[in-house]
Symmetry: C2
Subunit: 367 residues, 2 copies
């Protein structure tokens, strides 16, 4: 019989988190605010979440004994990233409730499955086609044209596992870059900017969304999220409703990040992430209940916070050498630092972020 | 040679915290936001801070080996409560920098020393007299009159170790209640309400104060703190300046709570606490940098946050059976819960608090 979780968790309950990076770290801190303990499962020594979690189970995702020990010790399981090995999930889901569900993970782990799912809901996505060999890529180019972008179907993040095709002549190199991995070719969308919605759904089916944030990327990595986003009133409403649509279709429990391209013809879904999301970090200093607590509330069977924003925020990621700016940022008025405690600074590595808070302004609405 | 700490601590540094209650817990979480690890020294099993600290050294304050191990493992030492045994401090201060300093602790550990110190700064306190025996108490009553209140000089908190004298006839029973402990008799002050200022001073001598909060007590325990407090502009200024005066006189490094009685004749200092303070919990949801991060910044040699308040807040302590109201509070809009993860609910035990956030209003100033 599948494990169930009927009552809200009480103070002292243990939330198991798969993955001990910065998202696991901030989830762990949020859980502590509600009186919960967290056990973090992560293969890394000194991973960021281990500094703040009650327990760190340091083991590989194929260590069946450790996985069982983890499941036995916790009251519910959640995760900070979507690329958890299927074998680990197969084992865990027989032992403890996993939130968000296995189905949400399955869909978002594969870009084709995800796009098929979104399309089935009547949502717009960029033109796409499945690519498993060089011939597929030729055919796919008929669907998308160029420029287009070839991505591995699985395990991509922060621009990794991607190749751009400026013209059909780039096809051979792009396919070579995928190293044989099943891929998807995506057409370019003529969008003015990207926004994302951080939505949440409780075990009772209640849905709450934070205000959409406007995202700017640098070198394939999120650079800033600004709230409020530049959006018409109707696009703002669409963004929230389509997020609720996705959450309900999946019978989802937890927080999800939904990235959207804004075009004159409407919103196009770029991708969904079944977890707390970098573009939702602004909520830590803009809302009474932030995305991390919102996720923990959902996972624990609690009512959701309402997502109301008390301040405008610009979130900036601190990547690699940006750490050299920390001392100056600490002197800024209204700047809230969030550092991840990573010992080693590497180029392209997310080391922390800063939320610059400004008093609420009239919402920017384009009409 | 006394240990020193000249440069600001960097990511990965370890902050040692003496005491693992809820204040240590929230200090630990704040430290994690700045990339620090925390080691908590506390004799209790499963103490609140142990759930979120990187390490918990579980030992008694007279365990010299454990104290040395703790001091060797951390970069700086701070504390969450002022009643740390002197013998432990004697040992630790030779090994690591302690912030706030030993001198601040020495003064605030003894009510008479504290009142003498405050008086020496030209600040007003309630009439008081030293009481070491029944004869002293007779003499002290000539100073304070009745009603008055007899308190142990050391180790009192939340109304413990106190006896009220409605008339001189209560003297014998009151002195018996002190069980022979050196005490102080304090006269009553005719005050309209109590406010407190949470002030901070950095290692560089920079001072920043949060807005004064207005405190209401129930059964000798803080019930609510409301910000902004009801204060005239001149009292508001006095409150901040006298706090700065105290901090500077002590060459203080860290956060201090200063409790003040408001009277038509001016502010009277009730007591000072050389640590983060229950009446400063509102800053977690009213300010970008809260009192816990402010304390950690000071202790780590960082610049202070500016203490600016972005929202009005009413903080309510959740004591004992108030935990039964948590589910209802979780459904309130704009209510931020902070639970301490204490396994056992006891009458009079601080289990958590809730910050109810309201958008900023024009400051209430009586003229």
């Amino acid at each position: 019989m599948a494990p169930t979780l009927n009552a809200p968790l009480e103070t002292g309950a243990v939330i198991g988190i798969l993955g001990g990076g910065q998202l696991g770290r901030m989830l762990s801190v949020a859980a502590s605010r509600l009186g919960f303990k967290t056990y973090v499962f992560d293969p890394g020594t000194d991973c960021p979440a281990s500094h703040v979690a009650d327990q760190h189970i340091q083991a590989n995702y194929d260590d069946a004994d450790a996985l069982k020990r983890f499941a036995d010790a916790v009251d519910v399981i959640t995760y900070e990233f979507e690329n958890i090995p299927t074998s680990a999930l197969d084992m865990l889901e027989g032992l403890r409730v996993i939130r968000p569900s296995r189905e949400a993970l399955r869909i978002s782990q594969d870009r084709i499955t995800e796009k098929d799912f979104l399309t089935s809901l009547g949502l717009k996505v960029a033109p796409y086609a499945n690519v498993e060999n060089a011939d597929d890529l030729e055919a796919a180019l008929q669907v998308t044209g160029t420029p287009s972008i070839l991505k591995t179907r699985r395990f991509g993040y922060d621009g990794k596992g991607q190749a751009r095709l400026q013209s059909p002549e780039d096809a051979a190199q792009a396919w070579a870059d995928m190293a044989g991995a099943p891929s998807v070719l995506e057409g370019f969308v003529d969008f003015s900017h990207e926004v994302s919605v951080i939505g949440a759904r409780s075990a009772d089916g209640e849905v709450a969304c934070f205000d959409p944030g406007e995202n700017v990327h640098l070198d394939g990595i999120l650079h800033t999220t600004t709230v409020p986003a530049t959006l018409t009133a109707s696009h703002r409403m669409d963004a929230v409703l389509l997020t609720a649509n996705i959450l309900n279709a999946l019978d989802y429990v937890g927080v999800m990040g939904v990235e959207l391209f804004v075009t004159p013809q409407g919103l196009i879904v770029n991708e969904i992430a079944p977890r707390v999301h970098n573009s939702g970090h602004w909520t830590q200093n803009g809302c009474t209940v932030d995305q991390f607590e919102q996720h923990i509330r959902a996972v624990a069977g609690w009512p959701l916070g309402d997502g109301v924003r008390h301040s405008d925020v610009v979130m900036e990621n601190l990547i690699g050498d940006d750490m050299n700016r920390v001392e100056a940022i600490a002197r800024e008025s209204n700047a809230a630092l969030h550092l991840y405690g990573k010992a080693e600074v590497k180029a392209g590595r997310k080391m922390g972020h800063v939320n610059r808070v400004v008093p609420p302004q009239p919402t920017k609405i384009k009409r």
